[in-house]
Symmetry: C2
Subunit: 302 residues, 2 copies
């Protein structure tokens, strides 16, 4: 399956009747509650709001009649986090979304061994972006969480993204390990790592995908450029996943795609038992909505 855009992803993967339940942890700010209730109204998700009753009250006055929701009242942040752990481990929540809680506190609860939300996989961040200039949804990872991953961590970041896209319905995602050059240059560590990943892939250590690297951005997404340069690869011009060599490349890339290439981004944290929506206050309503779409599009268990 190839998804041209988010609409197609919604039409294919989401039905109101079997909408996924997303727990909003500390659902006490307009931005997270608004996004969750809006997605609820569209039939994308069922909001499960974990919040202090007094704190969420004014928000429910605004959004309460958007959709059916469930409220799990808590008296403080600690209880909210504990409730999140329970609803994930009991299978009641299919995904979680960060509300009015510091990212560090929230992620600490996610990664804490005793909360049993981990799967043994590394936790990484991926952005899926709809671009007017590309023929399908494009994933960039990791632009936010793993800062300067080593080769093994890069492998795990790729596996996380491949797992996610496969569960969304992509057939054998094509992975481009990005560099500034299309050959291994010992003086350019990003190209060396990309070459090592290609070797690992050829040895069967990165299954479920087709991987190419080192490969430059233009060859990964633009078939004509690859043809001019004589770069022959099934990934050339048709990449599904762009592996950024580090957070700076990933961050600049997703922002250039979102702000200069008019892309619509959705972002998700992967590798825990359930997908995590971790948008920031500065994220647009559209980004929050599509991040929930992404979380709700996943099929099957982890």
């Amino acid at each position: 399956m190839v998804y041209k855009n988010f609409k197609q992803l919604i039409d294919t993967n989401i039905s109101k009747a079997s909408a996924k339940t997303v727990a909003v942890v500390c659902a006490e700010d307009d931005h997270s509650v608004g996004a969750a209730m809006e997605a609820g109204r569209e039939g994308i998700i069922r909001p499960l709001l974990i919040a202090g009753e007094e704190k969420i009250k004014p928000l429910l006055e605004t959004y309460g009649d958007y959709c059916d929701y469930e409220l799990l009242p808590v008296s403080n942040q600690e209880e909210a986090v504990q409730t999140m752990v329970e609803v994930v481990n009991s299978g009641k929540a299919d995904a979680i979304m960060k509300g009015l809680i510091q990212t560090a506190d929230f992620m600490k609860a996610v990664v804490s061994k005793e909360n049993n939300l981990r799967t043994g996989q590394l936790i990484s961040h991926m952005v899926v972006i709809e671009l007017p200039t590309y023929h399908k949804l494009l994933c960039v990872t990791d632009p936010a969480m793993m800062t300067y991953p080593d080769v093994d961590q890069k492998k795990q970041i790729i596996l996380n993204a491949v797992d996610m896209l496969t569960r969304i319905g992509f057939d054998t995602p094509k992975v481009a390990a990005l560099a500034a050059v299309d050959f291994i240059n010992p003086k350019m560590p990003e190209s060396v790592d990309a070459g090592l990943l290609k070797e690992m892939y050829e040895r069967g250590e990165i299954p479920g995908c087709i991987l190419e690297g080192p490969i430059s951005y233009d060859l990964a997404v633009h078939k004509e450029s690859a043809e001019i340069k004589g770069y022959d690869s099934p990934v050339a011009g048709d990449a599904d996943i762009l592996l950024a060599p580090n957070i700076t490349v990933g961050n600049v890339l997703i922002k250039s795609l979102a702000f200069s290439a008019q892309g619509i981004p959705a972002s998700i944290v992967t590798g825990a038992k359930v997908p995590i929506v971790l948008t920031s206050r500065a994220s647009s309503q559209m980004e929050k909505f599509h991040s929930l779409v992404l979380a709700a599009s996943l099929k099957g268990d982890h």
Copy 2:
């Protein structure tokens, strides 16, 4: 002066009567001769073709009547390079363009002390890009030449770009030292360098510009994002120059802008006595043309 696009740059800076002379070194391939003669026909430049007579003959059959040009015949590459050195040092050529000669050989001649083409400045590469989603021409540096510059080299890369833009007519260019974050994080070297550059700027060591850093891509080019995040700076949303922390960030960025954001790039090598057009075989005709426009737009001596 703010240039919305290349057309405005041409209209403002270039007149057929005083067109700059661009020496094409080893003008023996269709791509460089075609680009130079096309720019000649448009009155952007006067081509000064340095080439083997036999080798350029078939090309002149195609392009010979495009415009007035001068041919300096040479018998081999060594002579071509020597002729380039002479026409630059005598002031006959205002800019040079690489033809059918390996980039390494070409640049070796440029940087060689005995050829006297250097100015004492570092040699760096900059791309100026016209974007449908930005209100003016945007410069990214250095996406190709200085691979992993240290802070002092970054300072020189900035000074080269500021010098170029100022000679094109920009008023006090606004420089964004890019990072993945908008604050100094000791664990993120790009942000540390950007912070150091800001300090150097505040001490007056990087004159002729307004510099901000560390700053993320969205805040540099998108005013609303900066407002949402409370990031107050004259550079926010209005950057003229984006300093990429290294070649990989720069390369991925310019390619995402060119191939996904439908930008029109022009590239130039700066820091030598004259601007250098160093496009590759894979560069589009449009890129070659606009690179010549950039070289031809420079006012005043170095």
